[in-house]
């Protein structure tokens, strides 16, 4: 092999490598590749053609060297090509840039009403305790609403000043239920014992709307009837669901009260969720918040529905759903509920 051709080859490799690596775009790379080794008139081709006039021994060596050179140049060219493709891709995508903060807002999910959210949360706790969710009509008979519940003919709750009556059937015999308790009667009338049920729903009282009263509101009522149900069970049940709803640290207590359909009767309170019992504005400084009423089902209620009070005993409890929602969210004026203002609804 002549020194001249070795030098020539080195020169070619240096020139071509520089040219290929320095190509600015794909077209230029193609052109330089062609000039360097692909074209028949390239210097590389010229050197290859000269092989024919080289002695066979030398030709073999030279040929191998040329092939190796071509291989190296192709590697350089391919590397540059990959670089250029990648750069072009990046440039193309950069041109497709989108400011994600300038995207116009689309339609969001709607929000479930606070009453629904609270009701479902309560229902889930009771379902978890093995209770069924019972329902009854909002327009009810005076019998299921009062008579069967041991509420006497002259009880003030029956007064047209307190309860709405509807114009149907016998005058003053059909009403808008002022509590969910008639569902207790429906459950007892159904005759399937034992009963472990809660009944949530809409209730009505003749209250002028103000920050703490609405004539239309929501309650949830519980009824358990089984053999050997005790007052101790009632205390334990109240404690269980209050802790499930409001958190493990919540304590409960009962104090004597009067309801015609339970005996013994009690009001139940829970330790204030805001201050934990130390006293604050929410609990008027006493550390306890009154939740609702409860008690052992009065034997008169069993008798009215044909259940033997000697064999079966039970307890019932009831409280406001809306009130719990308001407590949880610190809402001070109930009237916001019936306005259905999206600025309110969309918060929860």
């Amino acid at each position: 092999m002549t020194t001249a051709s070795a030098e020539e080859m080195a020169q070619l490799e240096a020139d071509a490598t520089a040219a290929l690596a320095g190509a600015g775009d794909i077209a230029q790379l193609d052109e330089r590749e062609r000039v360097a080794f692909r074209s028949k008139r390239s210097r590389f081709a010229e050197m290859y053609q000269k092989l024919g006039s080289t002695p066979p021994d030398e030709r073999r060596v030279l040929g191998r060297l040329l092939n190796e050179l071509r291989g190296r140049l192709e590697v350089v060219a391919n590397a540059r090509r990959a670089e250029l493709v990648a750069a072009a891709r990046i440039e193309r995508l950069a041109a497709d840039r989108l400011d994600l903060t300038e995207v116009l807002p689309g339609r969001l999910q709607g929000h479930l009403n606070l009453v629904t959210q609270t009701r479902e949360a309560l229902e889930d706790v009771f379902v978890g305790m093995g209770y069924e969710i019972a329902e009854g009509p909002e327009v009810e008979t005076g019998w299921r609403n009062f008579g069967a519940l041991n509420i006497g003919e002259d009880h003030p709750a029956r007064s047209p000043l307190d309860t709405f009556y509807v114009d149907f059937g016998e005058p003053w015999s059909v009403l808008l239920r002022p509590h969910t308790s008639p569902v207790q009667i429906r459950l007892l009338e159904r005759g399937v014992l034992p009963i472990y049920a809660v009944a949530p729903g809409r209730t009505y009282r003749k209250d002028t709307p103000d920050s703490t009263h609405l004539p239309v509101f929501h309650q949830i009522e519980g009824l358990v009837v089984d053999r050997g149900v005790t007052f101790a069970d009632l205390k334990g049940t109240i404690d269980t669901f209050v802790r499930a709803v409001f958190g493990d640290g919540t304590r409960t207590r009962l104090r004597p009260a009067y309801f015609p359909f339970t005996e013994p009767s009690a009001e139940f309170e829970m330790s204030c969720v805001i201050c934990g019992g130390d006293g604050c504005r929410t609990c008027s400084g006493v550390g306890w918040i009154e939740l609702g009423g409860c008690g052992m089902v009065h034997p008169a209620v069993f008798e009215a529905t044909g259940v033997d009070p000697e064999e079966w005993t039970g307890f019932a409890f009831g409280f406001g759903i809306d009130r719990i929602a308001f407590m949880r969210h610190g809402i001070s004026d109930l009237r916001v509920m019936i306005e259905n203002d999206v600025r309110f609804l969309a918060q929860f």
Partner: protein, 852 residues
């Protein structure tokens, strides 16, 4: 019920000191635990030791001030004191209460030196209200005046100062023991505890709790020689209304003011002292729970009282000057028992009062009365409650009678009244009246104490604890019950409990159980866990309701809840044409019926939001609507057969509806329809179709009924633009979807069994037909679906064109049919055959031509 602590302590020796905050709080907690709910604790008589008597020496104007003046007083000190005062009701020489610097008035109000308009004020002259002695805030409490009678601002029970009084004397010393610091508990008494509508009853409960004796007043009255029956008579002609009436006669009565202590206690308990007769009656009622009525015997025709039932329409003018008509049925009650109102008449049968509720104007006792007949009655609770309701009158007396007073406490009350009147006369320095000896007594129904058989074991079983026989008596007897073992000890826990006359709430074993629970303490009773034997789960309808709410929320709708008590005109505006259920006793005409549909409420909510500049929104509600059974009053098709859930004879029709109002930007019938499609798809409904329908409140040409399995589930479409206008809404169009929840729950569903999905390539065939406008697109789709047969995977409408390229009165409907077999790739020939089959089916069945 307002209960002064000092009065309570008179009846049971509690050690609670009114000045000790902790002791007062402990007593309040005890009362709470007994079910005597403490609604307020008010401290009274505070600061009276810091305030002293002072005489006004000088009153002078302050420059540039027209509301306040400079006052110099002599407060008994070496130097006169100068204060600034804003009251104008006193004069030089008046004796007034003066709070010096450093004094602390009720409400932790500390008096400090102040400067007003350049004048230094070294204390404060006090009003009755500032000292919590009276409600009077009209000016300074003037206790005495050099010349002439004092002003009207002296509170009841406060004696008037004479000129020689010691200035600088603490007000507390001047006022005396009646004004010692005290605490008033405001108790909420449950309706079944009439025994606690008096101090004695509350004392009995608390005494039993803390283990102290109850010390009821044992009135001692010296009686004159002549029997009461010589002066007056009583008779009861209505035993169903009044079980007993007793009378006591007082002769030579002088009208005097009550002693300070009596007046003060009445004031603290919330009653206004009048004179010793009226005050004694009120005091007895507050102390023992027995209302009484004193009559001027000389103005009582025939010198006697007669109790009878009122005749229908009989009138009486009561003490408050109102004419009351009796013998009528109460509003809101079906029962009309003639003669159920109790009248008190004089011996000549003229009404002088409504028994147990309020005296008549004619019987009002005057200060001249010198011979008094005191009436003490036991009126039947139910009768009193009914009458009070009819005449719309609740008095302190009626509240007690309608819940039941102590049948065996009448004589004690009568004697206590006499004792108080005698004491008042002695205290005032006048001759006490002579009490005619004995009672005049008309008892129409004898009192028989109630004895209840009680099983100690059963009591314990209900409470979840063990109760021994002996324990029952130990718990109950301090409350006045008498517990006996009729057959001696060891008779299987069967005891006899005699109920005291003042506990009408205790009627059966379970009532005794509550007393035992109260005595042990609700908090002290054990707690246990009761497990349900069932697996808790929601019903299908409940699950559906929850899913629907989430589907609709997913469509961007917020869940509203609107009121169910609505304005009938509003229902009509919102297209509700069912026969509405009316309220018998609405609060206002705008809220007098039950909603018959959900649309009006949601439109109202949309209007509210519009008024707050939020017009573009979607709202839904799931709730009950009401209707009288039967057909709609107008020709609306909402009375379509099958729309009623269940016919009940005892109640109006009540259905649970789902309403979705779409008033977002570009919402219209199409948006409503797509919402329905989302619902139907998400619930996997089958056999669903739309039927064109007209519906009140809806757009006549953009509304359809939603039908599944042949049952109408509801309606979908666009609101009538007029309906939107009626509600002042600005949206050009609005969509509406309404479904019956329970019908939806019963609608047929796609089979549960999985349908295999083909692994072979599918072929699409696009077909466009020019179809007459009278033919619904759904019909073309049905025809295509049938013709395409089993191999058709889907039929989808993808373009609707109206315009020059098709003839007028028709449109081009373009469908894409996708064919696919489970076991092979369809050949071109097979697909071509299906294509021709489809074209032929549509062209022959409908007025449609393939668009080339």
């Amino acid at each position: 019920m307002r209960v002064p602590l000092s009065w309570l302590r008179e009846l049971t020796p509690l050690e609670t000191r009114p000045t000790d905050r902790g002791e007062v709080a402990a007593l309040a907690a005890d009362l709470d635990a007994l079910g005597l709910v403490v609604e307020g604790v008010e401290k009274v008589g505070e600061g009276l030791r810091d305030v002293v008597l002072a005489r006004v020496l000088e009153i002078a104007a302050i420059a540039k001030a027209d509301k306040i003046r400079r006052v110099v007083v002599d407060a008994g000190g070496p130097e006169p004191v100068e204060v600034v005062c804003g009251a104008w009701n006193f004069e030089v020489g008046d004796i007034v209460p003066f709070a010096p610097i450093g004094a602390v008035l009720p409400g932790e109000f500390r008096i400090e030196q102040r400067r007003m308009r350049g004048v230094v004020s070294n204390g404060m002259l006090c009003s009755g209200r500032e000292l919590r002695l009276s409600e009077d805030q009209g000016g300074i409490l003037v206790l005495g005046r050099d010349v002439g009678p004092v002003g009207p601002s002296v509170p009841e029970g406060v004696k008037r100062v004479d000129a020689g009084l010691e200035l600088g004397l603490p007000l507390a010393d001047y006022l005396g023991a009646a004004f010692e610091p005290d605490v008033v508990f405001d108790l909420a008494i449950e309706g079944n505890r009439p025994d606690c509508l008096c101090i004695a009853g509350i004392a009995r409960d608390i005494a039993a709790l803390v283990g102290l004796p109850l010390q009821l007043p044992e009135p001692v009255v010296e009686e004159g020689p002549e029997p009461a029956s010589r002066y007056a008579s009583v008779e009861v002609l209505a035993p169903q209304l009044c079980h007993r009436l007793i009378g006591k006669v007082l002769l030579g009565v002088s009208s005097v003011a009550s002693p300070a202590l009596i007046a003060r206690r009445l004031t603290l308990a919330g009653m206004r002292p009048i004179d010793s007769i009226v005050d004694a009656s009120n005091y007895v009622m507050l102390e023992l729970g027995q209302p009484t009525h004193p009559y001027d015997l000389d103005r009582l025709a025939g010198h006697g009282l007669r109790v009878r039932s009122a005749r229908p329409g009989e009138e009486i003018v009561t003490l408050d000057g109102v004419t009351r008509v009796l013998g009528r049925p109460p509003v809101g009650s079906r029962d009309s028992i003639p003669g159920s109102d109790c009248l008190i008449c004089d011996a000549e049968d003229r009404p002088v009062g409504i028994g147990g509720i309020m005296g008549g104007q004619s019987s009002e006792i005057s200060t001249e009365a010198s011979r008094v007949l005191l009436e003490v009655g036991y009126f039947v609770p139910l009768a009193i409650a009914r009458t009070a309701r009819i005449v719309g009158l609740r008095s302190e007396a009626s509240v007690r009678f309608e819940r039941g007073v102590d049948r065996e406490g009448m004589e004690r009350a009568a004697l206590r009244f006499c004792e108080l009147v005698v004491d008042a006369a002695r205290a005032a320095g006048v001759a006490p009246p002579v009490i005619a000896s004995g009672l005049i007594d008309a008892e129409s129904v004898a009192y028989v104490p109630l004895r209840i058989p009680v099983r100690a074991g059963r009591v314990g079983a209900l409470l979840g604890t063990k109760i021994q026989d002996a324990e029952l008596g130990r718990l109950l007897d301090p409350l006045g019950f008498v517990t006996r073992s009729p057959a001696g000890p060891g008779t299987g826990g069967l005891l006899e409990v005699e109920v005291p006359s003042f506990r009408p709430d205790v009627r059966r074993e379970v009532d005794v159980t509550e007393e035992v629970a109260r005595r042990i303490g609700y908090q002290q009773l054990p707690t246990s866990q009761r497990r349900s034997p069932y697996v808790g789960r929601l019903t299908d309808v409940q699950i559906l309701r929850r899913r629907l709410k989430r589907i609709l929320a997913g469509l961007g709708a917020h869940e509203a809840w609107t009121t169910s008590i609505v304005d009938p005109r509003d229902q009509l505006r919102g297209g509700v044409t069912v026969r509405l259920v009316a309220l018998l006793n609405p609060m206002v005409a705008e809220e007098s019926v039950l909603r018959g549909g959900l649309l009006p409420g949601l439109l109202g909510a949309a209007r509210h939001n519009l008024s707050h500049r939020h017009p573009w929104l979607r709202l839904f509600e799931i709730g009950d609507v009401f209707a009288l059974p039967g057909v709609a009053t107008e020709g609306g098709s909402d009375s379509a057969p099958g729309l009623t859930r269940e016919v009940s004879l005892e109640l109006p029709e009540e259905r649970e509806l789902v309403g979705l109002l779409l008033t977002d930007l570009d919402d219209d019938a199409g948006a409503a329809l797509n919402a329905w499609r989302v619902v139907a798809d998400a619930l996997r409904l089958e056999d669903v179709e739309l039927r064109p329908a007209s519906h009140e409140g809806m757009h006549p040409a953009r509304t359809a009924e939603v039908v599944a399995g042949g049952t109408v589930l509801g309606v979908v479409g666009e609101l009538d633009p007029e309906t939107l206008q009626e509600y002042g809404l600005v949206q050009p169009r609005a969509g509406w979807l309404e479904l019956d929840l329970h019908k939806l729950a019963a609608a047929p569903l796609r089979p549960l069994a999985a349908r295999p999905v083909s692994r072979f390539p599918s072929s699409d065939v696009d077909l466009a037909f020019v179809v007459d406008d009278s033919v619904p697109a759904a019909a073309i789709e049905v025809a295509l679906g049938r013709a395409a047969g089993e191999l058709c995977e889907s039929v989808e409408l993808f373009d609707v064109y109206r315009g020059a390229a098709v003839r007028e009165g028709s449109r081009s409907l373009a469908y894409r049919l996708r064919f696919c077999a489970l076991d092979r790739t369809l050949t071109d020939g097979e697909v071509a055959g299906l294509r021709s089959q489809c074209i032929a089916a549509v062209e022959t069945k409908h007025r449609a031509t393939l668009r080339s």
